[in-house]
Each structure stands twice: as C-alpha cells, then as structure tokens.
Subunit: 341 residues, 2 copies
DNA sequence: AACCTTTTTGCAACCGGTTGCAGTAAATCA
DNA sequence: TGATTTACTGCAACCGGTTGCAAAAAGGTT
C-alpha cells in the first residue's frame, strides 16, 4: 500500500541510502541528488515511515501522556496545552487513561513496548512512586502536577501544594473567619494531603480559630456537591478551602440549593482558577495555578531528558497567587479596628 | 538499553524464531520450549518491541484520535470513553489536536508516518471532506459525531442533527411558545447547520410562531454567555434551542445575571445531556445524545475496517431523546384546552 | 597536469522482530 | 516395530529504514 524508500530509489535511479539521506536533515547530499530524489518522492507520494526509522535511530518521537483524571474539566485544558506543545516540537502524544488500571507496571510495559521517548504523568493524585516506576524502567519521565518530596526521585513540575494550603489559610484568617474547614479531594491524593497539611499547619498559629476537615470522594463536581450537602446538614463552617475549583463549584451549587448564601453564610476559596471560575454567576475566589507554565516546563524537561537521560532529578515549582473574586466576604471592619487599634 | 529478542534467545539457548513464537499467540510452540523461553524472558525483563513487529505484521495497534474541540467538557467525557474502549481492545490512541492546524493533509501525513491502523475523527464541527482525506490516503477512518450525508464517503457514527433540530422545535411548539429562537454554535460547524435546518423546517409548519436564529462563536460557555447577553439586551425570544449544553449553561448564566428568570421569562433547551446538565442548580432540559453508544460503535467500526479496509461506507445514527428538566415552562393549560376543545 | 582535499555516493550490515519453508523429533497407526 | 503423520524448531529472507566505511567524484593547489 504505502510507498517505500526502495521504490523511490528505483524510480530516481539512485541508491536507497541516497533517498534516506535526502529525508534526514544534516546528511550530506548534493543539490542535484536532492532534486532528483524529491521529484521521485513527490511523484510517488512518498513519506518516510517514522516507526521503521525509529528502529535504528532509537527515537520514536512518541511521548506517553498518562493521566487518571478524565472528569475534571481542568484536565481538558491540560490536554489541550500538552498536545499542542508537543505537536509544536514534532512530538506525538500517546494517551494513556489510568482509570481502569492502577498497577504502574502495566503502563510501563505498554509504553516501553511502544518505545516512547519519554513519559509525562499528568496527575495531582498519583504518588511519586508511580512515576518512579518509569524511571526505574529507564524511561525518561516527568511528573506534572505531582508531589514534590525532599528527596525527589523523579522530575516534578508543579506547585507547592503545602504552600497553597498555607496561602488559603492565611487568606481565610485575614478575612476574619473564626470557624474554617478544608474540604479536600480524595484522601489518598497527594495534592489533597499536602494542601491539608499546609492549611492545618498555618492554622495552628491561630488557636482561636476552629479548624476541621473532610474529604470528597473525587475531584469532581458531583463529589463536591455531595460533600457540601452533607456538611450543610450537619452544621457547616463559616468558610471552606475546597480541594480545587471543581469541588468548589460543586459546593457552591449545594449551598445555593440549600438556600444559604455565598459569601454571607458560607465562604469558599478554591484552587486552580479554571475557566469557569471566572463566570460572573460563579465568580469564585481561588488560588491560581499556572498550568500553562507547568505544561511548557514539563515538556521542556522531558525533551531535555532525551539527550540527557540520567539528568539529576529536579523539582520545578511555580508560585501560585490568590485571585480575589466574590466567594469570600470582605475584610471585616472589626478586624481592621483590632489591627489598627 | 532494552532487552531484545536475540538476547532472550541466547540465554534460553534457542533460535530467535522460537522466542518470537512464544510471544505470538496462535504460533506453534511446545510446552517445554515455551517454559524455557518464558523463564529467560522473565529473568531478563524482556517485553517485545511493538513497533519492530509492526514492520512485518503491518499492524501497529495505534489509532489516531483526531479532534478540534478541547474547550467543551463533553469532549473530556468523549476522550475518556474513547481511550478506555481502545485500551480494552489492546489499541493505543495517538492524540491529534487540530486547534492550530486546519489543513487535513498535515494530519494525514503525520498519522501515515506513524502507520496508524485507523483513525477516529471526533468532531461535530468538521465537514465530511476532512475525514474523506484519510480515506483517500487509504487510512481506515470513522467520523464520530460527524455529519451524515445522503451519499456518505466515509463511515459516520453519531446522531441525526436535523432530526434533533426538529425534536427541539416540536418540544417548544408543544409547550406553547410563540416566539422561539435557535442560538447555534459556530456557523460553519456542520452540527450547527443541521440542527438549525431541522429546527427551522419543523417551525415552518407553524406560521403563527415567530422564529429567529443567531450563532455563538464557539461551542463554549463563554460564547454562550456572550451571545445570550446580546440577545437579552436586544429583546429576547420566549424560548431558545441552544446549540448544545455548554452554550445552554453559558446562556443560563447570562439570563440569571440579567435578573430574568428561567423558565418563566426565558425557556432553554440544550443538546447533549452532559454531566452538568443534571446538577440541581442547572437542571437543564436537553436532548440526550448517547455518546457512550456512539463511541463504542465508532470503535467497533474502525476495528472492523482493519480486516476489511474497503468496507462500504455506512452511517450509524443513534436516536436522541428529550430529557425534561426545569428550563422549559410546563405545558400550558391554554394549549391543553385548545387541543381537547 | 599531477596531486591532495573535501564531498558525494553506494555497499552492506544492522535495528528488532516475523514467517515460509524444510528438516527433525515426536506421536499415531497398522 | 516400522511406516506415516503431525508437531516443533531453526534457517534465512524480509519488513522499511539508517549508517560506518570505502570508493568515486568533485574541487583546489601548485
């Protein structure tokens, strides 16, 4: 079916090497030869077989894009950014959906069978050990949105979730809330654990503030709504730091449904600053995670690893920032007076 | 780096063919041989190179998954379903993002270079000509969510958008609305055109009903919100058939913002029945598109084409159904009286 | 024009597997 | 037990390219 290099060579009346060289940049070919070959190739509609060449070059230009979150719209943004950034560099994403698959060994094996040049694990819930298995298998790997540990075994690009937890805590403290809570994502997600840790540790400086926490079953709207309904039924806190925006928006919908008001009765602060957070009828106060930068940096890193597979693991953490919108009450007058007095 | 078949053969003290055969099902190998080889393979951590074997078998088990909509959450559901269904069959999705790329020739060339076994174009906006270019290049292709034409050139799996337009029209008619409108997605999207056509043609049977239409710039929340704001400012219709749920939800947010009420002041009916449509605080009346069936059927079809590349093009259309929720007013009493009287 | 470089080119081996064919070993049959 | 099938196994060629090496061609010098 497909035209091969051999056929082009025959038609152009040259050797196969000559054809190969015209399609390999950096190879030594005379102008005359190049023109002859290109003409034959055009006539035949030839385009080189990337997989066959990968056999000798050792490069497939395939990058495994591994994720386990296909229910959080933020990941559609993430996939969009990843696929475009990869395409811009002539790389191709081989998508792996971990939803039905928890054993890293299977993903590792599969991606090795396809000789991917590298792997990007895009997940804020998987533990470092997951991406570690790729490294152990000799596959260059970058964990995007992953957990940063003190002794990183793999490259991590993302944010400091502990610091984000602290940032959320400081924000709620500054707004004068006296009874706050963390409504996290799934309890076993690394991001949940880290955000909780930061939140609680910052709150420890303020024994006058009552702190509690619960977990939603997933980073999804539904889970956020359900969890907040439960909380409202059992007497809610004044303000919640929700695990992410999706949970926050789910929570908002539960509050609205209950007849309570945001921010008067319940304050909410999210994390991510996804597109929807900006809508006027949502207007979510949140912590912005620079996903564009994280994605680009992840790809730069994985590309760098192609030439330097044993590159020393590093963590690239990007600062987050508060985006103040309408789901937290204003800075209270009483607090102002206390401070200035 | 990676262990090759040759090394396994040497360690097991057998020929390379023997090793190859133990990893090819259906091949003739004795139990003794199999055990010997498997042991050696296990010791060495061997797993066969899928790309090398594709060279002789002509099968890569790669399927190109091509889309141009990375801003509509419904496509996250679609990607989730596709990737899982493919993985279940031992196939791998090679993701192509068309956002920056309009020329089909480039996608075709790229996917041919990677010798994909087949391609699924997942888009409700691309014209049939797009997927046709894959067929012309000899690549098995299925267009999911695509336009069904009277003389199909490629396999199409999806819904009858014209009929959906009619269905929306009939629903609005039944509710007794006298001034209705279509707020479509981008004007050049095939789904927009077809839904409009069906809507208008059905409305033509009722000259007493006033009909108008406009288009949002994209299938996105933002676009829906903007368009509805404009419409409200210039005097809105009583009820809108929105191009899809995402537009509907955007529109809802604009209505809410304007102080008007749904469904009392403005009725809205969407299309897709995405997850969010079910939320209590959205509670969108919509036309359900059976995406799970569409995805599964698309994959069955593309798999069938692997063995039968010249299979005669067919259109597989799945019926849609109204999901009645809270964004259209109740069936009016006056109308009931008219009908029974 | 003879000689020395520098480019180009083709040969042939190789990348990691698969597979038709022929030969060998095992199994079945009389 | 010998003859005949049948089941395994290995050889060698091939899939579609790449690349080191040496020969050939082209370009430069004196």
């Amino acid at each position: 079916m497909a035209v091969t290099l051999k056929e082009v060579a025959e038609r152009a009346g040259v050797s196969r090497s000559a054809v190969s060289r015209t399609f390999t940049d950096g190879a030594s070919v005379s102008g005359k030869m190049r023109r002859k070959v290109e003409k034959a190739a055009r006539d035949l509609g030839y385009s080189p077989n990337a997989l066959a060449s990968s056999l000798t070059t050792g490069r497939t230009k395939l990058i495994g894009l591994v994720s386990n979150n296909f229910h959080n719209p933020i990941f559609l943004e993430v996939f969009d950014l990843f696929t475009r950034a990869l395409q811009d560099r002539g790389l191709r994403p081989l998508l792996v959906n971990l939803t039905d698959e928890t054993d890293p060994a299977n993903s590792v094996r599969m991606l090795r069978q396809y000789s991917v040049d590298g792997v990007v694990v895009a997940s804020s819930t998987l533990p470092p050990g997951f991406s570690k298995s790729f490294r152990d298998a000799g596959v260059p790997v970058v964990h995007s949105f992953g957990r940063h540990t003190s002794n990183p075994q793999v490259h991590v690009v993302g944010i400091d979730n502990v610091e984000c937890g602290r940032m959320a805590a400081r924000t709620l403290i500054a707004r004068g809330y006296k009874n706050v809570a963390f409504m996290g994502g799934p309890q076993d997600a690394t991001s949940t654990q880290d955000r909780l840790r930061g939140f609680v540790s910052e709150m420890e400086t303020r024994p006058d503030i009552q702190v509690s926490y619960t977990f939603a079953t997933a980073y999804s709207f539904e889970a956020g709504r359900k969890e907040m309904s439960k909380l409202i039924a059992s007497g809610p806190a004044q303000a919640y730091f929700c695990g992410d925006d999706v949970l926050s928006i789910g929570a908002l919908s539960a509050v609205e449904e209950s007849g309570l008001n945001v921010p008067d009765d319940i304050g909410i602060i999210g994390l991510n600053d996804m597109e929807m957070a900006r809508w006027e009828n949502i207007d979510l106060t949140t912590i912005r995670q620079p996903i564009q930068q994280i994605v680009n940096s992840s790809i730069e890193l994985v590309v760098a690893m192609l030439d330097e597979p044993d590159r020393y693991p590093e963590a690239r953490l990007f600062p987050c920032s508060i985006v103040e919108r309408g789901t937290l009450r204003e800075f209270p007058v009483s607090q102002l007076e206390t401070k200035t007095g």
